[in-house]
């Protein structure tokens, strides 16, 4: 087998050195009755060409050749080939968690750079080395707020990504945490009028996503002014990290939980992505996950180490701030490289392109009779539209034009059955936006 570096003679030689008569002898501690006598019934073995063929065939069974307006937490952005080339260097790809700092300075310094970039983007003071993804980062941020405030209630916007809310619910159930949902106003923003003094005084945090699930930008500064006097923290979720190139960062929030997939990571059917937690310096000892920090060696040379590990499971076990061990280091590196490539100007430009294209699409689509915006609040690169008929039926027709249309909102918001989410990024050519608008117009002109 091509991955195994031993020939039969070497195996024999090693067995003899051990003093074993056969390989079976090395498995003698497994009771006889449990040792398999028959080979497993597994497909394969496949050659490299065979593996490529299997996966090419699977790729052909997906949505190839379609133009997609899906967003809702996962976005198509341009990725430089440089990022992919660099993260495939064996020294990054095939290295372990950098516990042995002297031979992991490459990983450690890049984590330190990642942490810095995340702070710069979010307006926060400290960021960790990554979480699994946005949904688990958000959940961990809420648990962190619970530890910081010792309060058991958490006020969560209904406009937080529905799957993030589901993950939070799974964790909250066993941590004595009451999740109380807060509705949205006609603007699509958090309905702050429903945040009573009593509810805030008992809340660990108010949790809001911005831009939220409907694409609407929230006023985090105002929310912080409302929540802080009552001792409630503000946790801000971000699923579209590119928005930070132009949208005011949630600097007033106490904890930011972000999905950084938009920074150079492929959609890849939902993962692996990059979760981010950023917060204030004073809260660092309640943060989950790994942190890289600056250190010096005996001769005063600058280096980096994993630090403040007394928060973590391998030291603190049941008293750890989280059970997280493995994170998403390689894709945090991808995000770091992507951001370095874009730089200050590129980040701003890509954000402006998203804004311009989305607003161009919004203007075009809402010219179609019967199509209107669901919410009046400001949007970045995604927006909710109401249609005169079911989104699912419209989408069936759009598929014939090789277009994957709006994401139906009705599944998670039963009151919005005729609404759908449209995301438009810098990757979407104007001609495709126009083709989408034309196809939609035609569909809606046809009798039901």
């Amino acid at each position: 087998m091509r991955y195994l570096p031993k020939g039969p003679a070497e195996r024999q030689e090693m067995l003899e050195a051990i003093g074993a008569h056969g390989i079976e002898e090395l498995f003698r501690s497994i009771p006889e009755e449990f040792r398999l006598r028959e080979p497993l019934r597994l497909p394969g073995p496949l050659s490299e060409a065979g593996i490529i063929e299997y996966f090419r065939t699977r790729a052909g069974e997906n949505a190839r050749g379609y133009t997609s307006f899906l967003g809702a937490g996962v976005y198509q952005h341009f990725r430089s080939v440089v990022t992919d080339a660099l993260i495939q260097r064996g020294e990054f790809l095939t290295s372990y968690t950098p516990y042995q700092a002297e031979i992991a300075q490459g990983t450690l310094q890049s984590i330190f750079e990642f942490q810095t970039l995340m702070c710069q983007l979010t307006g926060q003071e400290v960021a960790n080395a990554s979480m699994y993804d946005g949904s688990t980062a958000l959940t961990e941020a809420v648990l962190m707020a619970e530890r910081l405030t010792q309060r058991r209630n958490v006020l969560v916007a209904r406009t937080l990504h529905p799957e993030y809310r589901q993950v939070l619910a799974t964790y909250a159930k066993h941590c004595d945490l009451n999740v109380i949902e807060v509705g949205f106003a006609a603007s699509g923003q958090l309905d702050t009028s429903s945040l009573s003094t009593e509810s805030l005084a008992q809340a660990a945090a108010v949790v809001v996503q911005s831009p939220n699930y409907f694409g609407v930008v929230e006023d985090i500064a105002a929310l912080a002014n409302t929540a802080h006097p009552h001792g409630a923290l503000v946790v801000t979720g971000i699923t579209e990290a590119v928005s930070l190139g132009i949208v005011k960062p949630p600097a007033e929030a106490d904890i930011v939980a972000m999905e950084a997939q938009s920074f150079g990571v492929a959609p890849s059917f939902g993962g692996p992505y990059v979760g981010v937690i950023a917060s204030r310096d004073k809260f660092v000892r309640q943060m989950p996950g790994r942190l890289a920090g600056q250190a010096a060696d005996a001769e005063g040379r600058r280096g980096y180490v994993l630090t403040l590990a007394t928060r973590e499971q391998h030291i603190r076990r049941e008293k750890a701030t989280s059970n997280i061990c493995t994170n998403e280091a390689l894709f945090a590196l991808a995000a770091t490289i992507h951001l370095c490539l874009m730089g200050k100007e590129g980040l701003r430009e890509v954000a402006r392109q998203n804004l311009s294209k989305a607003h161009f699409a919004l203007a075009h689509l809402t010219k179609i009779p019967g199509v209107r915006r669901c919410f009046s609040g400001p949007v970045f690169n995604e927006f909710a539209l109401e249609f005169p008929r079911s989104v699912k039926i419209i989408n069936q027709s759009l598929l014939r034009d090789k277009i994957i249309g709006p994401l139906p909102l009705g599944v998670n918001y039963p009151e919005q059955t005729k609404c759908g989410l449209v995301a438009v990024t810098e990757t979407m050519p104007r001609t495709e936006i126009e083709r989408f608008a034309a196809a939609l117009k035609q569909i809606l002109e046809r009798p039901v």
Binding site: S110, G343, K344, F360
Partner: protein, 516 residues
């Protein structure tokens, strides 16, 4: 033709059993390209960039008009401004400061640092796979669903379990999901119980996950052989106990021979057996947890199934269960439809819910399937070679290093630094000295039941030659510990930076760069 001499390989030089003086001379040779590469922020100068976009083909909109002036940010202060070549150089230079499996043996016990096949990276990036959005309808995602379905079937066959989920993003999340399924099952029978038993040799994630699942941790001691003490276990398994979380083979690399009895003790009293599958590399193709009484287990695809560690992640932690736990699996569940196509079932009233958005780390799952397909039933050879390597190292090192537990080793072997400590040299010193010999250290100071542990897992990916070089290095260090302990205590001598002051770093943490 004149016979050419090979350039001296530092690894060869170091392992030729040379006197200490030579080791010192060698030790001055840096194995890393010693470039003073600053932080990217320090390399930055205004007006540069490394990525450009196609020109905007719609009218440029004024952000203040679109968002409202109050919502518009200024350009990010201190953000990098560098060209493409500078980015390439920066990260390539950083990469040379890392050790990697691609460079040599990475014998971290419990971490299973095996070869990461390159074709897996290739197929993960295929158009039509890397490009797919998780919210596509099932009709438009049959290929992705089929990959997950096929992997799921393979994992069931390998583990001997009945059903499973691929959603957890890492082993620790798998533990959490598995424990929630146990809780949901016991709750459905009217008694969720209070405690989960954890041996003192367990990974730290186990107790942390137990707490997150709302259970109390009850630590149990291992017996003098490092195994579960069945007598003790009987005392501990009360009507309050929901489960035992067991790593098998355990973190000493030893198979729990009385596993069936352990399962029986638990099952008699209505408790379940959870197996941490971190060490599945010792079992695949040889024995199946489902056959020896395990009710729930997770797998670490970034260990046993070769997906790259990438400097700390991503991973994936599928959970496999017995049929009675199937109703409690996280949503969604991929299922076969009558028409042969695959569907996604969200309507599962007993489910524990979601543990992660979307379908989990699909790109990791895909790589794990590519790995499994490469071997097929031949996966047994992987296990045999992994166990052979560990036993070979054990035989060659046991005269020079203390072996605190002498039961047969499987895929890893745990020594202690007891003999070297007499000379003032501990496991961390030996580990750091290994770096000078061109190897990544083994796992130090774990498991906790072995004071000064040297936990060595070679995996199947090491040739006999690589194993022999590692043995030579370890023996050379054992001699150095006796004859020149200072040399070992101050290692590594060949890296860009020496041992870093971790205590100082934690006392006054500097966790980000700041503009002066």
């Amino acid at each position: 033709m004149k016979e050419l001499k090979e350039p001296t390989d530092h690894r060869q030089a170091a392992t030729m059993a040379q006197p200490v003086e030579t080791s010192v001379a060698f030790a001055r040779v840096s194995r890393q390209v010693s470039l003073n590469e600053g932080l990217i922020f320090e390399e930055s100068t205004p007006g540069k960039r490394g990525m450009e976009f196609p020109p905007l083909d719609v009218p440029q909109i004024d952000p203040a008009e679109a968002l409202g002036a109050a919502f518009v940010r200024d350009p990010v202060d201190g953000f990098p401004e560098v060209s493409e070549i500078e980015v390439i150089r920066h990260f390539t230079r950083l990469s040379t400061w890392n050790y990697a499996i691609d460079l040599g043996m990475y014998p971290l016990g419990s971490c299973t640092m095996k070869y990461n096949p390159r074709v897996n990276e290739f197929v993960a990036r295929l158009e039509g796979l890397a490009t797919e959005h998780p919210s596509q309808t099932t009709e438009m995602a049959q290929g992705c669903l089929r990959i997950m379905y096929d992997l799921h079937k393979c994992l069931l066959e390998i583990t001997g379990m009945d059903a499973g989920t691929l959603q957890p993003a890492a082993g620790a999340q798998g533990e959490f999901a598995g424990l929630l399924m146990i809780r949901a099952y016991l709750e459905s029978k009217g008694d969720a119980r209070k405690k989960v038993l954890i041996p003192d040799s367990a990974h730290g994630t186990n107790p942390a996950s137990v707490v997150l699942a709302g259970y109390e941790v009850q630590n149990i001691r291992s017996n003098s052989s490092g195994l579960i003490d069945i007598g003790h276990l009987r005392e501990y398994v009360t009507s309050d106990v929901a489960a035992l979380m067991l790593t098998n083979p355990n973190t000493l690399g030893v198979f729990e021979e009385r596993i069936a009895e352990i399962a029986a003790v638990l099952h008699e009293r209505g408790a379940l057996l959870y197996m941490d599958g971190a060490n599945m590399n010792a079992l695949a193709g040889v024995a199946r947890p489902g056959d020896f009484g395990v009710d729930v287990m997770h797998l670490n695809l970034h260990k046993t199934f070769s997906t790259p560690h990438g400097g700390g992640g991503p991973g994936a932690g599928p959970v496999m269960v017995k049929i009675f736990l199937e109703p409690f699996l996280p949503v969604p569940v991929i299922c076969e439809r009558p028409d042969g196509k695959l569907g996604v079932d969200h309507n599962r009233p007993h489910s524990i819910g979601r543990v992660r958005a979307f379908f989990g780390n699909f790109g990791v799952l895909l790589r794990a399937l590519a790995y499994t397909l490469a071997y097929g039933p031949g996966i047994r050879q992987v296990t045999e070679d992994a166990v052979l390597n560990a036993n070979y190292l054990r035989t060659k090192l046991e005269n020079d290093f203390d072996l605190p537990y002498s039961l047969p080793s499987m895929h890893e072997v745990v020594f202690s630094d007891a003999r070297q400590r007499k000379f003032g040299v501990n496991t961390m010193d030996i580990a750091k000295r290994l770096i000078d010999y061109g190897f990544h250290p083994y796992t130090t100071a774990f498991p906790l039941i072995v004071p000064g542990a040297l936990m060595i897992e070679p995996t199947e990916s090491e040739s006999k030659k690589e194993c022999d070089q590692f043995i030579d290095a370890m023996l050379a260090i054992a001699r150095e510990a006796e004859t020149n302990p200072e040399l070992v205590r101050t290692a590594p001598h060949s890296t860009r930076v020496g041992r870093l002051d971790e205590v100082g770093a934690a006392r006054k943490p500097v966790l980000r760069w700041k503009k002066n």
